[in-house]
Symmetry: C2
Subunit: 159 residues, 2 copies
């Protein structure tokens, strides 16, 4: 793809961010998923308007793109997002497996307007029990047999 096309799709993502903010749907973030040079999903952040803390632009766009494709994988797709993905969205990207990601602003730009992205990046590498939201393991021995069942399950759909 020519660089002009990448710029065009990124500007679409930025425009989504502007629209969503102007309409009070959520924060100033937009994302676009492109496959074979075609936009298959475009979205803006909708956290506050839908009471859904997971409704970041990237998550909404990934879910919509998967719906369009009838698949839980974004093979050969490119994601354009107006800001570097937060850890939640980065994780979603790895599960959806697009080919490439472009972002505009950085996690530090987001931190400068009081979004937690950079804080969460720092929490992720800490041991679970030392995190600001403390996390403890419980009953591993009762849950683990399910994983053996999964490994041996013959009619499963891997993902």
């Amino acid at each position: 793809m020519h660089v002009e096309e990448h710029l065009r799709f990124m500007r679409l993502a930025i425009e989504q961010a502007r629209l969503g903010m102007t309409n009070n749907e959520g924060g100033p973030f937009g994302a676009v998923v492109v496959k074979n040079g075609q936009v298959i999903a475009a979205a803006n952040n909708r956290v506050t308007s839908t009471n859904d803390p997971t409704a970041h632009a990237e998550i909404v766009a990934i879910r919509e793109a998967c719906r369009q494709l009838g698949s839980f994988q974004l093979n050969d797709c490119i994601l354009y997002t107006s800001c570097e993905p937060c850890p939640m969205c980065l994780g979603a990207i790895y599960w959806a497996r697009p080919a490439q990601v472009f972002f505009a602003c950085t996690r530090r730009d987001a931190a400068a307007i009081n979004f937690d992205d950079d804080f969460i990046y720092r929490e992720i590498v800490m041991p679970p029990h030392e995190r600001r939201i403390p996390m403890f393991s419980l009953l591993r021995e009762e849950a683990l047999p399910l994983f053996t069942l999964w490994r041996e399950k013959e009619d499963k759909t891997p993902y």
Copy 2:
């Protein structure tokens, strides 16, 4: 809360995992959100049955709990999940801000049955352009003014 109650809620999460796997809705993962000793959401992984790569048990449970509360914040809630949250779910937890998290199996247990959690944890700390899914910055200077608009916006809902 007494430890017996924590065990009871974790067993509910494990039971969700078992049901979802048995019903072929997705992987062997379940989660429960509890507030004031009451279950307000219970969910299992639904990635493959809904073609939604973000439909991990924790994400589905967080979205449902927020819907129940009419809020994008899980104040005073506890999340129980049958496996250590992947980076996507960990990020969602930080955005939803429950008070505490309990998990059963670990990311290494998940890796042992071929889930990417541990791989994604290792990718997250890498510089964006060196990741297995390469990520590049583009047009930051065109997107950044939106962040200034957001900071100065008087009718915004922070989150």
